[in-house]
Structure formats: structure tokens, C-alpha cells
Amino acid sequence: MKTIRLPAREDNLDRFTGFVSDFLAEEGFPETRIQEIVLAAEEALVNIIHYAFPALPSGEVEITCRQEGEGRSTIEFRDSGIAFDPLSLPPPDLNSPLSERKVGGLGVFLIRKMINEVRYRRDGDQNILTFLVREKRGE
């Protein structure tokens, strides 16, 4: 198990995603799969950084990576910001024409596409978002 805890700021994004990427590389995930998971992690972190702490100063994000068995790991994001379940957002309409296509909502959609199983729970004053990841997308 590995944990990193840093202030929820955009200038820490690279350190957070680098941490996830290093963990997955150590676990033997293929490079292209690591890029997909890092993309989803970035989307989750950007949401937390932008929306979890509307009042300054912002809080922290803790990421915990765990090996759960052969080719399976979990990546857990914890923050003590306002309650927000990203999985409650409706998916974007991918078939809508350009003029109607919304500019937002894509981040959570990409998380769902790239991560095998996503769970959210509110525990006390914390948001806990968990990615269950396998070595292949959609397994």
C-alpha cells in the first residue's frame, strides 16, 4: 500500500499523477493502460481541486494505491471537501451535433470509460472515490 497526501492545488497535479503512474508501473501494468488510468486520475483530481473547496484555503487530497490481487489494484481518492458524488452526473450525449454539444461533463465520462469499476461514498466529512483497475480496460 502506498499513500500520498498533498494540498488540493493544480500545481500538485503532476506529483499526484506521477505517484499513481509509478505505482502502476511497479505493479507491472502496461504503459498504455497506465496512461488511461492516469487520465482518469487527473479527471478525478481536477474535479476535487476545482469544486471540493469553494472557500479558501483549500484542503488536501490523499491518494492510496493498493494491490488487490493478480493484475488488480485500487486507487482511492479522499478529500474533506463538500459532498460530491461524481457518479451522480448524467453522461454527456455523445450523439448530439456540434452546436448542441456541451463543453463540460466529459471528465466523469472519461473516468467511467477508462476505469473498470468506480465507487463513491461519503464517510463522515470525507468524499471517498475508489477506482478498481485491471490491466485491461473494460474487463
Binding site: 496512461q35 487520465l39 481536477v46 456540434l98 465520462f109 472519461l110
Partner: protein
Amino acid sequence: MELISRKERGAVVVLVKGRLDAGSSPELEKEIEKLIAGDEKHLILDMAELNYISSAGLRVILAGTKKLKSKGGSLSVTSLGSVVKEVFEVSGFNSIIPVFASADEALNKIG
């Protein structure tokens, strides 16, 4: 991320290198705004050396496409690498943004 722009046959080709993520996307947004303000109509984003794109990058591309189209122009992307291509496909962007194999192919379409 690094941006290298050149004018070619009535269009601006922007070579987008590196990572287009939450941190770097505002830079591309500014470049697109600048080109639109300079009355450029056709923009081609050459992604041959782009190895990562997140939703922040997709948003900037979508917003730029809408602005250019409303002015009678166009935005196209070319030379998508594997992971960038995958993100374009799963997000449905390849059906709303013109994607070409090369900048030349995109220029032929405009010309």
C-alpha cells in the same frame, strides 16, 4: 506542452507537442483566441507529437471549433497518436471534429 504555429495555404497549422492537460490547456486556448482575433479562419491542430490529452484539452478544442465555425471557419485535428486517438473515440469527438491522417490531407480538404 509546446506550440509551434505556421501559416500554410490559407490555414494555420499548430503543432501541439507534449501533454494537453488541465495545466497546459489554457495555453492552447489563448493561442486559438489569438488566431481568431487575428482573423484566421482555418486552424489545423497537428497532434503527431502529442502524447496525452485530458478532458480539459478536449474542452478547449470543442470551444475553438464552435467559435471558428460560427465565423465560417473550421478547426481540424490531424495525426492522432494511440492514446490521444482512443480518447477522441471514446468521447465521441471523432464524430464532431474533423480528423485527418496528416496536415497535408487537412489542407487539401480546406483548399
